[in-house]
Amino acid sequence: MAIFSVFVVNKAGGLIYHHDSYAPRAEAEKTFSYPLDLLLKLHDERVLVAFGQRDGIRVGHAVLAINGTDVNGKYTYDGKEVLEYLGNPANYPVSIRFGRPRLTSNEKLMLASMFHSLFAIGSQLSPEQGSSGIEMLETDTFKLHCFQTLTGIKFVVLADPRQAGIDSLLRKIYEIYSDFALKNPFYSLEMPIRCELFDQNLKLALEVAEKAGTFGPGS
């Protein structure tokens, strides 16, 4: 999937809509015996790898599942603490799945507000007068595109760096927002968008954009 996610941010910087397309995240599942040769630490209610990168397991990856069942933050599915469980030699050999942690709803809210501020600072740092905020942010794994409407709503799309046509996609999302959210009599301005037609039409627009956009070699 070349378009990873879509965020809609209101005038105050609050997240009012987010959508994630399935993105293949690097995951590695391995069987370990006691003692564990990775150093794990607790961070932000998750168990992360602090040291001991090897075999596809990188620093910063989180413990996603133990013996096939997903963990719930820092607790296993049956309520035990993960670090305690993994510190006990009686539980070995154990199969642990590591991978990039998925963002929780709370984290998405915080990141949206953070981007709202970064967008504003981008225009302040401008060496020339009359600059807009950040319209495109580029990294080696994704490109973030942002379109701010005249009313202060920001549409943010995260896509593959090679994906083209995101500018027209952003305008299309604005159109879908005004047709299916603003014209909905039960929708209040600046509130989270919970309109089924908005979801459906957004997904359709994303599919069209992905098919029409250019892809890099090998896809």
Binding site: A26, G122, T139, F142
Partner: protein, 119 residues
Amino acid sequence: MECVYTTEFKLMYGMLFSIRSFVSKMSPLDMKDGFLAFQTSRYKLHYYETPTGIKVVMNTDLGVGPIRDVLHHIYSALYVELVVKNPLCPLGQTVQSELFRSRLDSYVRSLSFFSARAG
């Protein structure tokens, strides 16, 4: 020499620090080079960071493509050669070296995307 841009520098450092943290959380895959650049309607900010934490930032026009190699050259051929290897330049403090300033200036003027416009 009194620097009038210190507020801008502090703002820029804070912004870049926040962007790096933002990008590492948002990224769907493990990153190798990390944050590369951002652009607005008027300018593009290019970023390059060394493993030792030295950050090279360049603001350009919108038409400029990836210049990671240029920023790397500024680090390796100018900063390392003229500042790091200079026993009189204390590392971690503002670079006062006039040689560095002039060499950097002539290097930037020699770049293909630099054009002497008014201002």
